[in-house]
Amino acid sequence: MKEAVFTFFSLFTLLTAAGVILSRNIIYSAFNLVLCFFGLASLYLLWGATFLSMIQILIYAGAIVVLFVFVVMLLNFEKPTEQKTRFSIIVLSSAGVWTLALILLRVLSKSLGEIPSLETPAKASVRTISKLLFSQYLWPFEVLTVFLLALIVGIFVLARPEKEETP
């Protein structure tokens, strides 16, 4: 049962991801991206990371893709035309990417397969995560907050309409 659900959501995720990169219409790409994130959230749920699953939906599906769609709509006033990619590039890239994937698969399944697995999947409770965040990972956490502050400033500068040249 669990395997079936797992397989279903894995395939769902991969198919929608393929949809993201293959769609001619960018709005379908965005739509596929939402579905892909849902699939990922489900996978997280299956692995027992409930909190992360919710966060995945809240941030990725609820905020990031909304931004994407928002920008797509903004740009839609004059339809952006995308030129076709050259066939040679596609072939070369695919070859490289799948070589890399194969290597990674071999390496990961070899090295990560040796990690001892627990009898039952662990539960990452919010409490554990927050304790870690505020003790062991406090420093990265604080750095991240500063980073976000810098980001806000950066976005503000980026988004500000260009000033009229005043003589």
Partner: protein, 354 residues
Amino acid sequence: MTLIDFIIAALKAIVILVAVIQVVPVMIYVERKVAALIQDRPGPNRVGPFGLLQPVADALKFLLKEDPIPHYTNRLLYTLAPFLSLIPACLVIAALPIADKAVLFGREITIQIADLDVSLIYVLAIGSLGVYGILFGGWASNNKFSLIGSLRSASQMVSYELPLGLAAVGAVMVFGTFSLREMVIQQEGTLLGILPNWGVFYQPIGFLIFLVASFAETNRLPFDLPESEAELVAGFHTEYGSMKFATFFMAEYMNLATMSGLMTVIYFGGWHLPWVSDAKLLEILGSQNLLCIIQVATYIFKVSVFMFLYVLIRWTLPRFRFDQLLTLSWGSLIPIGLINIVVSAVLMYVLGGK
């Protein structure tokens, strides 16, 4: 998980969902009646006694009307959009604890579809997905009014999710849990002997922020910018008719219900009667099922009060301008929410816990 469990869960889901969907006809009637009351006119009074069957007539009208799809639209998304709007609204209900538990056939059944340990985040997360229906609907309509409505909706949603989340963080700090059920259970009893032990007394400011933000999240007046009929014809659903429009309509009322339910759960003690503890009530009534019915009734009453508040406000306050809307969120609600968190944290530290 045995088959029986599965069947019980499915039944529970179906029953609660069907029950919640009944909010829609009731709300249609209430809304029209209240509007009439405020505008000093009789309102619906032809179909049935006091016009009580008006919702049925409306539903029939929606079902029987022709359902055209304009040729310039994106067919797939145009058709999908209303359901994208409705599905999250239905999904959210799964996390709301309606009552404690009932005993049927020797089994204890919690009156809640799914008792997640992160149900508050779940509600916020799924609730934030409702925007896709509006976005895709507006985009697929291929109509400038619709598109502008969608854009407004997107920025509004993103802007108001933040104060909503910040207000919720305050409550989470007070209760120390993300589980809505836990929160309700903690709100039993009295505070300082006089007040009911409700979240609103711990987080008054948080509650106000939550309330304001919930109006924006449900696209209700005074924040119904995505569909403001004075500017954008009908906003994102300009091109929609018959049952598709009705679906949007349903989604809106469902969202209203879930938001009210959420506020009830977080801030107003959920299924608890004020000043009376469950144990005492059980002693008086002598039956768990009876207690459960009373709890459900209490819950429905509290939710109704909020729904009524929504309706009242809709017909009393004027609409905001869009920039005012955004300034309200980024300029007032978010800073206040942040300050609320800090002050709550300090107070909790000083007073030692809850």
